[in-house]
């Protein structure tokens, strides 16, 4: 408990036990309600749209879960998927983080065995809200270890509603972060619990929780770097204790082994730079432990001798080891780090070297308003929480401070990592709010007890003596020397200054009853509740309006009611009903997962983006003229090409807007695609001022074929807000087979090659010889 306030009123043991019992039951019910809140605030998309899986990545996870539930775990581990990245295929068992799919599969299996017939899709849609309730409970446990139950409950309710976490865990967002954030907080809770109790049992649980985290998300490297950093911090600030050793050393050994068990990590657990920090600190903590042990058994003089001897020998050995390590690490071109980790450490790395990582919108740095949008009130409660953590500073609170600082840095690099900041911000704000509430309620209690004492003295009772003396004893016990404070009516506003002046009191959890004037505390209490109200209103608005869009179904409100744009599913359904099972569909990589999951057709590239050259091939095909594009697609056995076009309805995330990435990524691998060819005055344009290369590119033609028929000859593109450049043209190598209702998805079929080319053979034969020496600048197509 934050402050046992019983001493100020009736300190009988029976009533305090009853009070504690009542408090515990109340806390339990509050936690239950927090779980229900966390679950229900994420259901807006199910209510507004339908119970459907959102976005792109969740469709892949859904497909994998379907496979798991149909074929069992052994086939899942050994699954080689030949319906994506044609003709390369993808080893699913070795490249996917299995935690999420195994969790959902287990839940489905358990429900089936209980004869509750929920479909796999329902289980997948609702996994995220269920696990966010668990995450709120884990936050309660973690903050309780740091500061006490009051702070724990506040932090839990803040996490249940924080918009940043809602954005990645709404019902339908079936992605890794849904379970990974729960695993993250739970692992941290078990680490702090081990640190506080020194029990090996919790250390074992900590390793198992870490294993679950490794299974779930690539962000586990955050844990395996944060915990060593904290251990190092504790050692350096002189807080080494044997509990620290028990908390850290088994985690490293068991954790590394368990991480190596997961196929997607494998031997990276011991060979990549992301894990080296943990090994380094493992060695450091052993050295420190040995030093403390020897210090314990030797006399101080002998210890000095030992120290000088060890230092002189140790420095030499250290230098040798460091030299070897540096040589090994420097020999790899990326110094042992993976591309994504490097882009986190050096934010400009991805844009220089790996355009694919730079092109994902989630990997961009966040803007300042997004901090307020995603954290709202927490953004300025966090500094107050940091100060509250320093008074008193324990191992657990230093860990939370370090966690916050690290996550703030990483959230500044990638907007996607604001999600890792959210629990830290909630914990800090919970601590701050709880401390504030403590001060206010304590002032009010003081005032009330003074009032009752005053009234009772008036009535001539002997009780006030009993009431006042334990109060005074409490006061005397806590303040060792200051006589001024014994007057309880003294108004004391500078609480923090007192804490600095009296450092010896800081280890006690009971504070001096520092009170504010009662009117100020009532008003401040009211304002704090109002602050909480603002937070709730904002969170509910964000959950309902900003983060609940399934992005596979779009809606718009106009004067004649609600329009629903279900074009994506229309196109995928057409594909699954009107094409052969083995037909290959080419599109930009964004739609790969959805195509394999919903249309059940083989795709060329998908969202996994593991093969840059393959993506560059598709990008080149889309940027080339029609014949060259046909050649590339034909060499990949493609039958159908799918483009997304938003010009008719004003859908801004269509392929023409993504075209610059096709050119850049394609140009990165195939030098005959040059970005300046497509730019007019440094801009991509599709109107009459566009470059001829742009107007001839396959993407332009496939997007705008017959577009003028929609608005009677003008061809006005609602997204780019101009009329298109080339209005009337025919397609020679493709034929349009399907366009959805709002023209958002357009599917084309590759025309088969003509049997004979009339009159062209002689011409082409005579043309090739004179043209090849002439065409030194324009290299036509690498497939010739």
């Amino acid at each position: 408990m934050a402050v046992p306030v019983d001493n100020l009123t009736k300190p009988t043991p029976a009533s305090s036990t009853l009070r504690f019992a009542f408090g515990n039951v109340l806390a339990f019910f509050i936690l239950l309600l927090i779980g229900v809140l966390a679950f229900s605030i994420r259901l807006f998309s199910v209510i507004k749209y339908e119970s459907v899986i959102h976005e792109f990545d969740p469709y892949f996870n859904y497909r994998v879960t379907q496979f798991l539930t149909k074929n069992g775990i052994y086939d899942f581990w050994n699954w080689f998927d030949d319906r994506t990245w044609y003709p390369l295929g993808r080893v699913i068992g070795g490249t996917v983080y299995p935690g999420l799919t195994l969790t959902a599969g287990t839940i489905w299996k358990v429900l089936q065995s209980l004869n509750i017939p929920l479909s796999v899709e329902t289980v997948c849609v609702f996994t995220a809200p269920v696990f966010s309730a668990f995450a709120a409970w884990a936050t309660y446990l973690l903050t309780k270890e740091v500061k006490g139950t009051g702070a724990g409950l506040t932090a839990a309710v803040l996490l249940a509603m924080v918009p940043s976490y809602i954005s990645r865990s709404v019902a339908g967002s079936y992605d890794n972060e849904a379970v990974a954030i729960f695993a993250l907080i739970f692992t941290f809770y078990l680490y702090i619990k081990t640190l506080n109790t020194g029990s090996l049992f919790y250390a074992t649980l900590n390793s198992i929780a870490y294993f679950y985290m490794v299974c779930s998300w690539g962000g586990y490297t955050f844990i395996i770097n944060l915990i060593p950093m904290h251990v190092l911090l504790c050692i350096v600030t002189g807080r080494y204790s044997s509990r620290l050793y028990i908390a850290y050393a088994p985690l490293v050994v068991l954790g590394t082994l368990l991480a190596a068990l997961v196929p997607v990590v494998g031997f990276n657990a011991v060979m990549t730079s992301e894990h080296f920090a943990s090994f380094l600190v493992f060695i450091v903590i052993h050295v420190v432990a040995l030093a403390y042990y020897i210090k314990g058994i030797l006399s101080p003089k002998m210890f000095k001798v030992a120290a000088t001897l060890v230092v002189s020998v140790g420095v030499v050995v250290c230098c040798a080891v460091v030299a070897v390590l540096v040589a090994v690490v420097a020999s790899s071109p990326t110094k042992g780090w993976s591309g994504r980790s490097l882009s986190l450490l050096d934010p400009t790395y991805a844009s220089k070297y790996i355009p694919i990582i730079a092109s994902v919108s989630e990997h961009q740095p966040p803007t300042w308003p997004s901090y307020f949008m995603d954290l709202n009130v927490l953004a300025f409660l966090v500094p107050a929480g940091i100060i509250a953590c320093f008074a008193p500073l324990s191992d657990a609170s230093s860990f939370v401070i370090l966690y916050l600082v690290m996550s703030v840095y990483f959230s500044g690099v990638m907007v996607r990592l604001m999600l890792v900041l959210a629990p830290a911000a909630c914990i800090m704000s919970g601590i701050a709010l709880s401390e504030a509430f403590d001060v206010f309620t304590r002032s009010i209690k003081f005032y009330i007890s003074n009032l009752s004492e005053f009234l009772q003295t008036d009535a001539g009772d002997t009780l006030p003596g009993n009431n006042v003396s334990p109060q005074n004893e409490v006061l005397k016990n806590e303040k060792k020397e200051d006589t001024l404070k014994e007057r309880p009516s003294r108004k004391n506003k500078k609480k923090e200054k007192e804490n600095i002046e009296k450092p010896y009191v800081k280890s006690k959890t009971e504070k001096r009853p520092l009170v504010l004037p009662v009117e100020a505390s009532f008003f401040a209490l009211f304002l704090t509740v109002l602050l909480g109200g603002f937070y709730v209103v904002h969170s509910v608005w964000a959950a309902a309006e900003a983060y609940s869009a399934p992005s596979i179904v779009l809606t718009s409100h106009s004067h004649d009611g609600l329009h629903v744009f279900d074009d994506f599913r229309e196109a995928y359904a057409w594909l699954s009903h009107n094409t052969e099972v083995d037909d290959k569909v080419a599109s930009w990589w964004d739609y790969g997962y959805q195509t394999t999951a919903m249309a059940n057709r083989t795709v060329i590239v998908d969202n996994n983006t593991w093969n840059n050259t393959h993506i560059a091939t598709v990008g080149t095909a889309m940027s080339s003229p029609e014949k060259a594009g046909w050649e590339i697609f034909n060499s990949l056995d493609v039958k159908y090409v799918l483009v997304v076009f938003g010009g008719l309805v004003g859908y801004p995330s269509d392929d023409i807007n993504k075209f610059l990435w096709m050119v850049r990524i394609g140009g990165g691998v195939f030098p005959h695609i040059k970005e300046p060819d497509y730019l007019r005055d440094g801009q991509y344009r599709i109107d009459s001022q566009a470059t001829p290369t742009m107007l001839n590119s396959l993407m332009y033609k496939l997007s705008y074929f017959r577009f003028v028929e929609t608005d009677g000859g003008k061809g006005y593109d609602r997204v780019r807000r101009t009329e298109i450049g080339k209005k009337y043209f025919k397609l020679t190598h493709f034929e349009e087979v399907f366009t959805t209702h709002h023209w958002m998805v357009r599917i084309y079929k590759l025309k088969p090659q003509k049997n004979r080319i009339r009159g062209k053979t002689k011409k082409s034969k005579s043309k090739t010889s004179p043209t090849t020496p002439r065409s030194g600048t324009v290299k036509k197509n690498p497939w010739h």
């Binding site: 020194g198 029990s199 090996l200 049992f201 250390a203 074992t204 390793s207 198992i208 204790s241 044997s242 509990r243 050793y245 028990i246 050393a249 088994p250 050994v253 068991l254 590394t256 082994l257 368990l258 190596a260 068990l261 031997f267 011991v270 432990a289 020897i294 314990g296 058994i297 030797l298 006399s299 002998m302 001798v305 030992a306 001897l309």
Partner: protein, 117 residues
């Protein structure tokens, strides 16, 4: 003349004081220490073997070495918890410490068996 002790004398004095201080530890702790030394020694033998023979299959090497290191670390944790001079753990019954040790070892060896190949 009383000269300041040379480094050699210092080393001798250090060695003797260490030895006398260590012999004062209780027997059960000495047994645990022996176990730790045995485990570390086994790990070193495995590393030497890998250096001679090569590191294929790497998962077997990793699981072998990490099982030795892991059980050594867990034994050190047990020693910390059982040591009567340790003020932080005076409330912990040694049976509980040993039970935790056994449990953690079970989990460790389960993982090892899985990873051994």
């Amino acid at each position: 003349m009383v000269k300041p002790a040379t480094t050699k004398d210092d080393a001798h004095a250090l060695f003797y004081s260490l030895r006398s201080a260590y012999s004062a530890t209780p027997t059960n702790l000495k047994i645990i220490d022996l176990y730790v030394v045995f485990a570390v020694f086994t790990a070193l033998i495995q590393v030497a073997y890998m250096a001679i023979v090569g590191s294929f299959p790497f998962n077997s090497f990793l699981s072998g070495v990490l099982s030795c290191v892991g059980t050594a670390v867990l034994a050190v944790c047990l020693r910390i918890q059982v040591n009567k001079e340790n003020k932080e753990f005076k409330d912990l019954p040694p049976e509980r410490a040993f039970a935790d040790f056994v449990l953690c070892n079970l989990v460790l060896h389960l993982v090892i068996m899985n990873f051994l190949g």
